[in-house]
């Protein structure tokens, strides 16, 4: 049961029930769709980038508790970071879930996702939003969409 408690921590449950930045921003410069064929989870990530800084990060979609909480906390973490810092965070988050290294301090509160390590089939749930944001960061900058 303790492994399960490590997975479904209070913070993760809170973000899954009340996801932050769950919206389509009025303006954004990069977007990408993510899909996990294993569980059918889909999400869309939106980034507003100005002068190499992520000014806004948001997402839409629905998924399991782990993928929703991961997307929610990811958007909070990315805001104010540079594109390079965002890409570096992807690498560190990915390593946290798939490796056995000590949690790097840059990840901050995201280290609570280390409990996912003990659930190999759920790693993709936690990394879906991050893979999607990586695709968005690598995509060619488009014109800012304004609705």
């Amino acid at each position: 049961m303790s492994e399960l408690n490590d997975l479904y921590q209070e913070v993760i449950l809170d973000h899954s029930k009340n996801p932050r930045n769950l919206r389509k921003p009025e303006s954004f410069s990069r977007t990408a769709d993510g899909y996990n064929p294993l569980c059918g989870d889909r999400l869309t990530v939106y980034l507003a980038i100005k002068d190499g800084v992520i000014e806004d990060a948001a997402f839409e979609g629905s998924g399991c508790a782990i993928s929703t909480a991961s997307a929610s906390m990811m958007t909070q973490t990315l805001r104010g970071k540079t594109v390079e810092e965002g890409e570096a965070l992807f690498e560190k988050f990915h390593a946290l879930l798939t490796g056995s290294d000590e949690a790097p301090p840059e990840l901050g509160k995201l280290v609570i996702f280390s409990g996912v390590r003990n659930f190999p089939v759920r790693v993709k749930c936690a990394t879906l939003a991050w893979h999607t944001v990586k695709a968005a960061l690598e995509s060619r900058p488009e014109m800012v969409t304004t609705e």
Binding site: L13, K17, C39, G40, D41, G63, A65, I66, T68
Partner: protein, 419 residues
């Protein structure tokens, strides 16, 4: 042969003692995260009784060689064991002759075989193939590939909110260009038991052949292909308590006889020169290369095991558990059952308000309860019910009330985590 549909002439089924039968399945003794295993993922695959495991070991230890060639003693023993398995399948389905039984890798390969061989010959530009909304991907994609290659059209018969095929709509899709109808006997995602006899009659009235995907039905009820009058029937070994990598395609002899080979190679030929190859008779024509010999032997033993228990007894046992499972799940707060057809078999798909099926699956696993969470290789079915995924508990002959109680207790744990 007693027609399976004629209840009046049927003896009441024997009662299964599932608790006793558990002892035949060694894997059910495994402890999962410190709990007794409640294996409720039988629609994905079933566990194997000791007699199947022993038969495979015995075959490899005393009879194994290649089949249909070689003059030595072991080749004769292996051929006899392999062909005896074909006879068992023939009896199990009540086919007319063993030449109507083709060994394949599984249901998927059976459907691909019919799509490529029968479809390749009979489906042309502008022709139509009819399936239903509730099909497994393996009864969708082979037909899509065929239609794309031939310039034909895939027509999909809709289902209603309960998960029943809308028969009038299906019938209206059957036209002069329809070349084949392919339907699940039992839906793997909804549990719907389709009126396949009626569908076959509808299609045959227009001269259209019917393929039935029996992957979920064959392990759960008596199957009589003559009574169903279907033209093709497909099922998988691993879902019917036999080995993986072996399955069966039944086809009416005159249809199989008219079909070109599916794959080329050894075994399927009569005579080969570089100018021309003469193909073998059925069923060998469709079994190119060395087959899964031990798989067929194991499947034969599994089918004999089921026949000894009685398929009607297994059906009655699962129906009783299905009723209990449905009732218990319905009483849980926030639970919606997806698939409430009039006739169901063996499984319940469900969703819970505010809790994703994947989270349900992980928490139940930690309680020793194995279920499936996902789209069940039936994404169009999920789309029909506007859910990304469901949790699915599926029954087998060894399941007991205790397994259902474990699931329901596990669901309380799920609520505790998410409350």
């Amino acid at each position: 042969m007693t027609p399976t549909g004629d209840a009046a002439t049927r003896k009441p089924p024997k009662r299964l003692d599932a608790e006793l039968l558990k002892a035949d399945f060694p894997i059910l003794d495994e402890r999962i995260h410190g709990h007794r295993l409640a294996y409720l993922d039988n629609a994905a695959t079933t566990q194997k009784p000791q007699c199947v495991l022993d038969a495979i070991t015995y075959f490899y230890s005393t009879e194994y060689s290649n089949v249909h060639r070689g003059l030595h003693e072991l080749s004769s023993r292996a051929t006899a064991a392999y062909e005896s398995a074909r006879e068992i399948v023939c009896r199990f389905l009540n086919a007319r002759a063993t030449k109507e039984i083709v060994f394949v890798r599984g249901t998927t390969e059976a459907v691909n075989l019919v799509a490529q061989s029968y479809g390749g010959k009979h489906v042309g530009p502008g022709d139509e193939v009819v399936i239903t909304t509730m099909e497994h991907h393996s009864n969708i994609v082979p037909w899509q590939m065929l239609c794309e290659a031939k310039g034909a059209h895939l027509k999909v018969a809709p289902i209603d909110d309960a998960g029943d095929i809308i028969l009038e709509d299906l019938e209206s899709l059957l036209g002069p260009r329809t070349r084949i109808v392919a339907v699940a006997h039992v839906s793997n995602a909804l549990g719907t038991c389709n009126p396949v006899r009626t569908i076959t009659e509808m299609a045959h009235a227009r001269g259209i052949p019917v393929l039935l995907d029996g992957a979920q039905a064959a392990p759960r009820m008596p199957i009589d292909v003559q009574e169903l009058d279907c033209d093709f029937y497909a099922f998988s070994g691993h879902k019917i308590y036999g080995p993986s990598g072996i399955g069966v395609l039944y086809g009416k002899a005159q249809l199989l006889d008219s079909m070109p080979p599916y794959q080329g190679g050894g075994e399927m030929i009569r005579h080969v020169t570089f100018e021309k190859t003469l193909y073998n008779d059925i069923p060998d024509r469709f079994e190119a290369g060395t087959p899964n010999i031990a798989g067929a032997v194991g499947l034969g033993v599994a089918l004999d095991y089921l026949s000894a228990l009685g398929l009607d007894a297994i059906e009655a046992h699962e129906q009783a558990l299905l009723a209990a499972l449905t009732e218990a799940l319905t009483e849980l707060p926030g639970v919606t059952i997806i698939g409430t057809a009039k006739e169901k078999a063996g499984l319940v798909s469900f969703v819970v308000d505010g809790i994703h099926p994947h989270d349900i699956g992980t928490i139940l696993d930690h309680e020793g309860v194995a279920i499936r969470a996902g789209h069940h290789c039936a994404q169009p079915t999920m789309d029909r019910f506007s859910v990304p995924a469901t949790a699915r508990a599926s029954l087998g002959l060894y399941n007991t009330r205790e397994d259902i109680d474990a699931l329901i207790a596990g669901m309380q744990k799920v609520r505790e985590v998410f409350l």
